[in-house]
């Protein structure tokens, strides 16, 4: 990416902007605080400051609150966003609501997004909330550079951002016969968002706190599968099974297995995780997608 002279690049969203103001105009990240990096190399995504503004097109969004932040949009004429109807917090009577077309509805339904989404057209104001404690993460999207996000993290996107899904290919089974169960620790499908001719904005709701890191080519890290929030498409991933030392191969309870189910991420690229995640089954794994295995 060519950075115009005098501009700085936001270390979180990687967009270039003039060096002014307390927060990034593209993603709202605070710029006037020290970058917080853990000893292990994770960069803490600073929560968007209360009342910070993010500009997109002729419109803007202001982030309000600390525990369950609200995204308060001021939409300009001919600009629009789409979202699930559950996310609406309030709106001005003048804003125009409509349903998205059914095109792409099958994709949405398969991946857990509503078949019929709602569009809000400017001019006017509308506010959305993720309705759970956590952070809002703003991802400005450049045209033609898709972003993979974990399912059910989507809050809203600008009208010029298209959506599709991708099989995660991450699964394992437990039990056998009629008790056989297939688990998708990362979800069965991941969401793919792409800005079309012009830059777009994607807002995610991240439960808990958010951390990100850049993986070098070939660099790996294992994370809780359901903690993954988003990743560059260049980052590869697969299942990683880890058995602690001393784990009995056979136990009195044959269905139980002491092991960790991880997601192994391989660079190059950017990955982000949330600090709130689900837990995996503790039953014996009877089959799985391609995985690396470590027995200590």
């Amino acid at each position: 990416m060519t950075v115009p002279e005098g501009y700085t690049v936001c270390q979180y969203c990687r967009m270039a902007h003039p060096p002014a103001g307390p927060s990034c105009p593209s993603c709202g990240a605070a710029l006037d605080i020290k970058r917080s990096v853990t000893r292990s190399g994770w960069v803490q995504q600073p929560p968007i400051k209360d009342l910070a503004r993010i500009q997109f097109g002729q419109s803007r969004v202001q982030i309000e609150g600390k525990y369950v932040p609200v995204a308060d949009f001021t939409l300009a004429e001919r600009e629009w966003i789409y979202f699930s109807h559950h996310a609406v917090l309030w709106l001005d009577p003048g804003i125009r609501l409509s349903n998205t077309s059914l095109a792409g509805g099958w994709n949405r339904m398969l991946s857990g997004l509503p078949l019929i989404m709602v569009e809000a057209h400017g001019p006017g104001r509308i506010a959305l909330s993720g309705d759970h404690a956590g952070e809002l993460v703003a991802l400005p999207l450049m045209p033609g550079r898709p972003m993979w996000t974990r399912e059910h993290r989507f809050l809203t996107a600008t009208g010029n951002v298209t959506y599709t899904w991708q099989n995660t290919g991450i699964w394992y089974t437990t039990g056998s016969g009629d008790d056989k169960e297939t688990h998708y620790p990362l979800g069965q499908l991941g969401d793919l968002f792409t800005a079309q001719q012009t830059p777009g904005l994607l807002l995610l709701h991240s439960p808990g706190n958010t951390f990100l890191r850049d993986l070098a080519p070939g660099e790996t890290i294992v994370v809780q599968p359901s903690a993954l929030l988003y990743r560059d498409l260049s980052v590869q991933m697969h299942l990683h099974l880890e058995y602690p030392y001393g784990t009995p191969r056979f136990t009195w309870r044959s269905s139980f297995s002491q092991r960790n189910v991880w997601l192994r991420l391989i660079g190059p690229g950017r990955v982000a995780v949330a600090s709130v995640f689900g837990h995996t089954s503790s039953h014996m794994i009877t089959g799985n997608s391609w995985a690396t295995v470590r027995r200590w």
Partner: protein, 265 residues
């Protein structure tokens, strides 16, 4: 020296005070008002103290705040029993009948409230991340709150409930069948609500309207009217309607950013 007016409850505080004596709001930070005109409820600092009558209230914690009340002699607060966190063994409690028993049971509201009497200490928590909203009520005020939002009220505040008018409001409004109504007559009182998530307040001018997710409604002045209105969009495979609560001024409206999803019909 010039006294400091609290921007939240308008009490005139002593010069040099850092938090309001009546509601605990920080006095050394400006009101946070969004571009769209919503005012954020003041974030009470950990261990902030404020007073009502002969009692003192202290707020502890920020994520799931605890409200601890040191009740003075002759003072009392009432509450729903499941918000009790701890109490001094010697603090007396009594039952407070609410009237309208069967209606309240049908509406899913508590039939009997609990009164804690001073002197003694008692602490409350709504058991979920959010903010404590302290609303000192001056004499002659009426305020409506969504059911199960109120944490405690001082005994000088009259308590009743109002049935939400209109079948559409009941079926689509997302606020149940009743609102809690708090009324002061000649004496002031203290009302504390728990807002889930963050709380925002806005003053509507006479006739001014705003559309609010019904589950996000937290409180309003009694003069503000609330009406469920259908939006021109459909949801889900069955193409069910989407309803929002149309609030019409004059008066205050408070909303919370974490809400129970209302059932779209």
């Amino acid at each position: 020296m010039e006294r400091i007016e609290c921007e939240w409850c308008r009490l005139q505080n002593e010069p040099g005070a850092t938090s309001c004596l009546s509601c605990g709001a920080p006095l050394d930070v400006r009101n946070l008002v969004t571009d769209s005109g919503w005012r954020e409820a003041p974030r009470l600092r950990d261990l902030t103290e404020f007073r009502f009558s002969r009692s003192t209230v202290q707020v502890e914690g920020e994520l799931v705040p605890v409200t601890e009340v040191a009740l003075g002699q002759g003072d009392a607060v009432y509450f729903e029993h499941h918000v009790l966190l701890w109490k001094d063994e010697a603090t007396p409690i009594t039952a407070m009948p609410t009237g309208g028993g069967m209606k309240r049971i049908l509406g899913g509201m508590p039939f009997v409230l609990t009164l804690a009497h001073g002197p003694g200490r008692v602490a409350f928590s709504r058991d979920s991340p959010g903010e404590l909203v302290v609303l000192p009520l001056h004499p002659g005020m009426e305020l409506d709150a969504r059911e199960h939002a109120f944490l405690l009220a001082s005994h000088t505040i009259g308590y009743s409930f109002v049935r939400i008018q209109g079948l559409a409001n009941v079926l689509h409004g997302g606020n149940g069948m009743y609102l809690d109504r708090f009324v002061t007559t000649s004496a002031p009182g203290l009302l504390a609500l728990h807002g889930y998530g963050n709380v925002l307040e806005r003053y509507l001018r006479p006739g001014e309207k705003i559309l609010v997710e019904p589950g996000a409604f937290l409180y309003k002045d009694a003069a503000v009217t609330m009406q469920a209105v259908q939006m021109p969009v459909k949801t889900g495979l069955l193409r069910r309607g989407m309803y929002l609560a149309e609030m019409t001024g004059p008066g205050r409206v408070g909303i919370q950013s974490m809400y129970v999803h209302h059932h779209a019909e």
